[in-house]
């Protein structure tokens, strides 16, 4: 049996692993695992690392998530208030940018690890890397420069700025966010992240038209990854549909792996990307809140069937809500293991 790292390695080398690798994005659930509140859990990198290691061990998927919550990026850039919930991800409670002056004064620390929250994150990644012992890839996660302003100033004001606002101000903000993005990639890599999940919801076809994507978002994806290069980067949909933009990213940025939205068609993605890119197909994990194990089995089988036909396939979830019962997570992973394995899937049928 291969390890998670070997499965990813095989796929990236153009070979077929023993089964489809499984990415199960359980984040806040780690707090429950450790009997901590979400605030206590995220206070320390070692807690998050322990939570991630326990959950991977318990459910048996193939990756370790070196991520806290998206709003941590806003904290590093000056957000002074994070709102903690009992049953969901922490949220931005203070907008860093409330006007043009704030854009001009936005500052990216030269050394991100000087920020205590970022230091906890990289310490978590370091622990995961050490404990994984090369068996499971550690994922580092960054928000793309084009999407980050939504967390700093709110989605509406950011849309107003990039659609019809002052283009010099917009570009100034994007330059700062891009610098932050590339510094984060470097720091997460240095801490031990094997793969970088690059999250760009506002560039998705759910948010902007293809023409606007080419004009406004694509140049910044290129810019964000200029220093690091596209190797080991996974383009993550962030909740929006990305099939319409896949070919452009493949051609102009050269990213080799794409994490689709549940509503993106896997077969179509393969046609758009050509034979060599990896595709992660995702399940609609909000439905895992109340689907029965049989319904989960059926849905996973459908996705795996399309994925195995497409080839170069990874099975994934979006960010799984806290309310998903444990038995459904187990049913999901068990079904993914069963249907991701060619020989055993046939036997099960």
């Amino acid at each position: 049996m291969m390890t998670g790292m070997e499965r990813f390695g095989a796929l990236m080398g153009g070979r077929t692993p023993d089964r489809v690798p499984i990415v199960c994005n359980l984040l806040d659930q780690g707090a429950r695992e450790l009997g901590l509140s979400i605030r206590e859990y995220y206070a320390r990198g070692e807690h998050v690392a322990e939570g991630q290691l326990r959950m991977r061990e318990k459910y048996g998927y193939d990756t370790l998530a070196g991520m806290f919550y998206s709003a941590l990026e806003a904290e590093v850039l000056g957000c002074r208030n994070i709102i903690y919930a009992d049953d969901g991800p922490p949220n931005v409670g203070h907008l860093v940018i409330n006007g043009p002056r704030d854009i001009k004064s936005l500052h990216v620390p030269d050394e991100l690890n000087e920020h205590p929250r970022f230091r906890e994150l990289t310490s978590c990644i370091g622990i995961l890397k050490k404990e994984a012992q090369g068996r499971f890839p550690v994922l580092g996660v960054v928000t793309a420069s084009f999407s980050l302003p939504a967390m700093l100033m709110g989605v509406g004001p950011w849309m107003e700025l990039f659609i019809n606002g002052d283009s010099a101000l917009r570009d100034s903000l994007l330059e700062t966010c891009s610098l932050f993005c590339s510094r984060q990639i470097a720091a997460l890599r240095e801490a031990g992240a094997d793969l970088i999940v690059y999250v760009d919801p506002l560039a998705s076809a759910t948010f902007i038209q293809l023409r606007k994507f080419r004009e406004l978002a694509l140049p910044w994806i290129i810019r964000d990854l200029e220093a690091h290069g596209p190797a080991g980067v996974i383009f993550f949909n962030g909740g929006g549909r990305i099939n319409p933009i896949l070919a452009d990213i493949r051609e102009h940025v050269g990213i080799g792996a794409y994490y689709l939205n549940p509503y993106d068609d896997i077969t179509e993605a393969r046609t758009l990307l050509g034979p060599h890119s990896l595709i992660a197909g995702t399940i609609n994990d909000i439905r895992l809140l109340d689907w029965s194990p049989d319904e989960i089995e059926h849905e996973v089988e459908k996705i795996m069937l399309a994925g195995k036909r497409a080839g170069g396939f990874i099975f994934g979830t979006l960010l799984m809500p806290c309310g998903i019962p444990e038995e459904n997570i187990r049913a999901l992973v068990a079904a993914a293991i069963r249907h991701g394995n060619h020989a055993e899937a046939e036997a099960y049928r």
Partner: protein, 225 residues
């Protein structure tokens, strides 16, 4: 003004909306007014059809993006607010809605789009903002005499949590208000799970902002004496 010219205005307006060209859209509105269209004609023959074709008409093809929704609704709200005072007769208010995002939810975009759609359709809307406590939804609905409480959630835990729509439903039940007030919900989690609205105690949900006026009209009818 002839129908042909109206169609030309509407087509140009739609093109500006599709291009997310706000300045262009507002210029077309102004030119229509300068050219002799009445404020009523601009609102009912340009702004509302523009918004509805933009937001509703092409959604099934997945061709319309959130940025286009946002712009169409924003212009509809701005222009309607500006032109209603210029109407020859005061338009009939079709209902009153209090709207906000659920407790713990700081995502205001969806709510903003819905407000534009409702205002353009002559609903009175009281915007309670983001991160709204369930008590405030009920208190404000009673204070302004609303018929409908609209709750937007972008995250699963703020949609299904105990301080979200469920608590609003519980309060309506405890205070004997269920025959006076209806709850509508919307936002990303509901789009991934079509029965979630029932679980959180809502009377209805809207898949898109364009559906809001029709659904709210039905809800208002249910509670109006």
């Amino acid at each position: 003004m002839s129908e042909g010219i109206d169609k030309q205005i509407l087509d140009s307006y739609l093109t500006a909306l599709f291009d997310t060209d706000k300045a262009g859209a507002l210029r077309i509105v102004q030119e229509a007014l300068d050219g002799g269209l009445t404020p009523e004609q601009v609102v009912f023959e340009v702004i509302i059809p523009g918004m509805e074709r933009m937001i509703g008409g092409m959604i099934s093809d997945n061709l319309v993006t959130l940025s286009q929704h946002f712009l169409a609704s924003q212009i509809a709200e701005e222009v309607t607010d500006r032109l209603i005072p210029l109407f020859a007769t005061v338009p009939e208010v079709r209902g009153h809605v209090v709207i906000g995002t659920s407790h713990g939810d700081f995502h205001g975009l969806g709510k903003k789009i819905v407000i534009g759609c409702l205002k353009a359709r002559m609903f009175q809307v009281t915007d309670l903002g983001i991160n709204v406590a369930p008590e405030k939804f009920v208190e404000q609905a009673l204070a302004v005499g609303a018929e409908v409480i609209a709750i937007s959630s972008m995250m699963v835990h703020t949609a299904t949590g105990e301080r979200g729509p469920k608590r609003v439903r519980q309060m309506l039940r405890e205070q004997g208000l269920e025959d006076r007030l209806r709850i509508i919900v919307g936002g990303a989690p509901y789009r991934f799970h079509e029965n979630l609205y029932i679980e959180v105690g809502a009377d209805a949900w809207g898949d898109t902002a364009a559906q809001a006026p029709e659904i709210v009209t039905r809800l208002v009818r249910e509670v109006r004496p």
